[in-house]
Each structure stands twice: as C-alpha cells, then as structure tokens.
C-alpha cells in the first residue's frame, strides 16, 4: 500500500519535473532550441521503432499463419533488420553532428569579451569582461543579453564541476587547469536556473544559480551598475551593519568594493542585495536569510568554506543583514 502511494506520488511528480526554471524541455536559448528539436526527433523515431518491433513480435506470437509466413521471409530480415537500422541510425547521427557543428559555428559568432565562470566549493564566481578591458566581479548569478551569443569560459580552481543551464544549452565540465568554452545565446528574456552537473562534494546539490536573460539595453545598464562600487548604507541600522561587517573581519574573505573589505576567498558582495538568491540559490535573498547564513551556514551548506559566526548577537546579525540587503 505504502509502495503504491509512493509510486503514485512519483508519477504525479513526473510532469512537474518537465516544466519550471530548470527544465531542458522549455528551451529559451539558441543551443537549447536545437537540442530540443534533436531530442524530440530522437524520441519520436524511437517510439516508431518500438511500435514496429513490438508489432512484429506480436504477429510472430499470435498472428494468423499467413502473416507469420510473410514475416518469416528473408527480405524482412534484410530490410527490417539491416537496411532500416543503418538508414535510421545514420540519419540520426548525421542530424546530431549537424547540431554540434552549428554549435561550433555559433562560438565563432560570439562577439564581445565574454564571461568567465569559475566553479568554487560550492558557488560560482562570475567575471564579466568589458570591451574596455576592465572586469566586473560578481557571483552566483549569471546575466545575459537576449539575442547575443556570449562566450562563456568555464574554469575551476578546485575539483571538477559542470555548468548546466538547461533552458539555454547543454552542459560542459569545469576542469581545473583548463578553460572550456561554451557559447550561450538567450532567445527570450526571463529567469531560468543553472545547476552544477558533476558531483563535486557534499554540497554539490546546493550549487545552483539563477540565469537572468535581459534585453540588451537593460543588460548594459545593469553591467554598468554592477561595475560601480557599493552603495552607502541608507539608514542607521545598515551603517552599524557596515561597521560590524568590517570589525568582524568579513573583509578577510569577501570584497565589497568601496570599503576596506578586499578578500578574495569568498564571493564578491559588492551588489549582493540585488541578486535573486543567497549562497548559490540555496536561500532566498532576504534579511532573515542573511542572518541565518552568517550564523548557521554550516548547517545550511555543510562543509562550505565559511566559518559560522556564532559570536554575533541577534541585534548584530540584524544590522549586518540590513547592510548586506541594502547593497543593491
């Protein structure tokens, strides 16, 4: 009975897995659209082949003797068993190769300096290169201009990770000591999700991020804002939060441009308040989540590199959360 209930639950959950921000079945990128067509072609061809084979088996078992005599003939084996598979599989192979070739051709079409994503334990460092040669450090969120192929360079300085934004394209590994290049082109504005797709340690499942595709002009404006130093605290609580942030040594690991905090171990927090999530899409981005993360991060994401700050009082945490939340 319990198994039955569980099975029906799983069955009900199946269609739910096919939609949503992390579904490869809802393509919103050039590469994903091509992969999507390939996927459905292969799926439907497989369905047709399966129906054909099952029909032949059924005839062989239960069909009238006249039909069985026909399928027992040599030409059925020659055509159905050799010629048909060769034609179908070769066609699919050719189709797959063409899709891959188109992907390779797209990488040549990428203009602009591109974006570097570095896999960390367990978060993403996202570095936007700008045409003037400057870079903009960010983390745990990828923004893309719609309609422009962007070169994404994938790196890692620890273990092997894999970058996969299913709505935009295929997955590609991030391998220490080498740079893999992926070209992504968002075809419509919207928010989707990327996930680390190669087991990289205990908190692997909690290594995600949101991918925000924006109209090109909005993207440029956003990048301009992202390049600016952090905003000043807007009220007294946030002001106290900044003091506490700096006093407690948060700047040892985190950078907040425009302050003394210049750490390079953890994510850049200059505009952390404007991101859609905290801790690589582990928590929502709100004040409660900031406070929880600072004090209790080892329970939320075990073995991540940040120490828990159990020394801070509730009031101090609230102030620091107010400060970080205001860094938009």
């Amino acid at each position: 009975m319990r198994t039955l209930r569980l099975a029906s639950l799983l069955f009900l959950a199946l269609p739910a897995g096919c939609g949503g921000v992390q579904s490869a079945l809802v393509p919103r990128g050039a590469e994903a659209t091509e992969i999507d067509a390939l996927f459905w072609t292969v799926t439907w061809v497989s369905v047709a082949v399966t129906i054909l084979v099952v029909s032949f088996v059924a005839i062989a078992l239960w069909g009238p003797s006249r039909w069985r005599n026909i399928i027992a003939d040599h030409w059925v084996v020659t055509v159905g068993g050799i010629a048909l598979p060769v034609v179908v599989l070769s066609a699919l192979l050719a189709y797959g190769l063409i899709v891959m070739q188109v992907g390779a051709a797209r990488s040549a079409s990428a203009d602009g300096p591109g974006i570097t994503i570095v896999g960390k334990r367990w978060w993403w460092e996202v570095i936007y290169d700008r045409p003037d040669g400057s870079t903009v450090m960010s983390a745990n969120e990828l923004r893309l201009p719609v309609g422009k192929p962007v070169e994404i360079r994938l790196e890692s300085d620890n273990v092997i990770h894999s970058f996969w934004a299913p709505q935009l394209g295929g997955k590609l590994d991030m391998i220490p000591g080498r740079t893999n290049v992926l070209t992504l082109e968002a075809t419509e504005a919207g928010i989707s999700r990327a996930q680390c797709a190669e087991y990289c340690g205990g908190a692997h499942a909690l290594m995600s991020m949101f991918v925000v595709a924006m109209p090109p002009e909005e993207y440029e404006a956003w990048l301009e804002a992202e390049a600016r130093p952090a905003s000043e605290p807007s009220d007294e609580a946030a002001e106290r939060g900044r003091t506490l942030f700096l006093e407690n040594g948060c700047g040892a690991c985190h950078t907040v441009r425009g302050t003394d905090a210049a750490g390079v171990v953890g994510p850049d927090l200059t505009h952390v308040g404007s991101r859609r999530s905290l801790a690589a899409a582990t928590l929502p981005n709100d004040r409660d989540a900031f406070a929880r993360w600072i004090r209790d991060n080892q329970h939320i994401k075990p073995d991540n590199l940040m120490p828990p700050y159990g020394n801070l009082t509730d009031g101090e945490l609230t102030a620091i959360a107010a400060y970080l939340d205001g860094l938009e």
Binding site: I127, T135, M137, D157, L246, E247, N248, G249, G251, A252, C253, T255, R257, A262, G263, V264, V265, L305, P307, P308, Y309, G310, N311
Partner: protein, 380 residues
Amino acid sequence: MRWERLPRPRALGYAIVIVLGGGILLATAWVLAGAYNVAASAKHFYVTDRLLKLVLYRSVDTYSAGIEVPPLRDAGLVRLGARHFVTGCQPCHAGPGMDQSPIAASMYPAAPALGNNVEDWESRELFWIVRHGLKFTGMPHWPGEGRDSEVWAVVAFLRELPKLSPQEYAELTRGPRSPGHGFPLDRPDLMAQCSGCHGDADNGPVASLAPSLNGQNTAYLIRALEEYAAGSRESGMMEPIAAALTESAREQLAQEFGSFASPTPSPPDGDSAERDARIARGAGIARDGIAQQNIPPCLACHSPGKSGQFPRLEALSEGYLIEQLNLFRDGTRSGTPYAEIMAPIARRLTKDQIADAAAYFSSVERGAREAPAAHAEARP
C-alpha cells in the same frame, strides 16, 4: 543415600558447586554487611600493598610505552613547570626542604613527598602519570584535555627537582616580580600569580608557551579567562587559576595587562637565514593570505580597528603562536564561537605555513604594521 553409592566424578561435581555457591553467598554477605573497612587509617596487609604497587608500576610502564619524550632541557620550560608545581602539585607533594602537609601525608596511599624518588621514574612515565592520574589514589589527571605540552613543562621541572636546594627551588618558583606594583586589585597577590608566568610591565614571560599579555585587547583577555573558567578552552595550567577568579578580578587583570606597553618583538637578526626566510613567507600569509588554499590574511581580523575579541598577534612568542594554531588544527581549541571561526582556517595551513606565520608575528612590533594589501579584482 550414602556417599559410597555415588560415582566419584559426580561427588566431585557436587562438592565444587557447594564450595563455589557457598563462596559467592559468603562474599555477597560480606560486601552487603559492610564488613570491609574502607578507612584510610586501616592499612592494607603487607602482601596486598606489595601487589597493588606491582600493579601500579607495571601499568604505568606498559601504558607509557612508546611515548616520545621531547627535549626537556629548556630553562623556560622548567620555570613554567615550576610555577605550576607550586599551585598544582606542591600542596600535596611538598617541595625541596619542605615538610609535607600533614593532610597530604594522611592520605592513603599518601602522596609521596617528591625529591630523589622522582628518579625512580622515566620521563615518559612521569608524563603519563601527570597526564592521566592514578586511579584509587589522590592523583588527578591533567585538567586540560589535549594540552600535552603543558604536561611536558611539568615533567621538565620534575627532572630538575632532585637537584634543587631549597633556595634554588624558592628562586625558581617565585618568578620575577616588580616590587611595589600599585595594582588596585581586590587581591593584590593575583597580579603576582599572573606575572609569575606571563611577565609584567618590566619582565617578559618565563617561557615561550606562556604568552605575553601586555597591551593585549582587554575584551579578548576577559573572554579567554571566561573560557578557561568554563572549561571551554583547555589548559591544565589556566583553568584552575581562571576558575578561582571573580568576574571583577578578571576584568581588573585584563585592564591592567592591556594597559602595559606591548611586548618587544624578536626581529630578524640576519644570523639565521632560515628564520629570515620564514619571516618573509609569514609576512605574505599575514598580509595577503594564500588564496589558492582559501586562507584569508591573518591581519584582516588580527589588527587594530577590528573587534577587540580578536587578539593582537604581533610580538607574541613563536612557541605560543605555533602551539595555539596546532590546537586549533587538531580540534583541542574548539567549541567556542570564536574558535569555530579560527579552527577551519588553521586547518587549511600546513605545519610549515604555521611556523612561517608564527615567525613573522614574533618578529614585528605591534604598532608598526602595514595595512593589508588591497587585492580587489586581483586575478592572475
């Protein structure tokens, strides 16, 4: 029924059952009746005494096998051990030329008055006894779990003990005290107790394991005393001392030590190229950290302008810094919120890097400090 009728083996069986069963019954009755006299004044039989001593000697020898003895001929280590001996051991074991306390002499077994009899034990055995204590005697185990280096300080002193005259002993255990220190404590003797190991405004610490407290952040000093008193920071030497302090005494002591001028560093002297190289590497760790190992710069927290709960590290002794980083690394110094911040970072340092950082901090003055290098957006 007559005995002759029973076959021999069966008769033997009955006899065994009757004797064993009767014995157990008698023993139970003897225990429950309280017939055994546990009085310390009622001595063991001679044979029992010999047997117990044999068990003790054999046990200490067996369990201390394989303990490696570090170098003990270190004047600082001996002095540190001597200072602890006065408060921790002398009350029961007496010192050279002293009469043993009648109370300790009335223990059973009596705490041995220590003198030449220390020679009966090897250093590893003395270490084991001080570290683990002895069951069914008054000998306690070391209160600071994981603080073996403190125990070795005591052993280093015990090795010297038989050679000491009463005058030398008094000299060694008294420690440097500045006369006429106008310290407004509830109990002025407390300051003398602290400075006996940690030094004071005029004298340095007695051993590299004992940190100078001069000019240290008072918030940190108060917290350290609280953690020692609560047992959340391990030390067989500091825990009993801190536990005996009142809250106001802790604050006054912290204020007093914090007001002293910071200790004098031991700068690179050019005599040891190895140390100079360590200092140079340590400076890099202190100022920039090691990004590839996810190690942030030490000075990002341990510098002026940061929380007073983070201790200042400059001009502390190399030995103390290495010891503490190793305690963070091996999990001995853990369990407090602040230790939870430092421990994961200490674990990312190699033993060599720990020595480098310690060499650097021991060599620099506390005031003369360069700001951590700006490394925003520094990417190779």
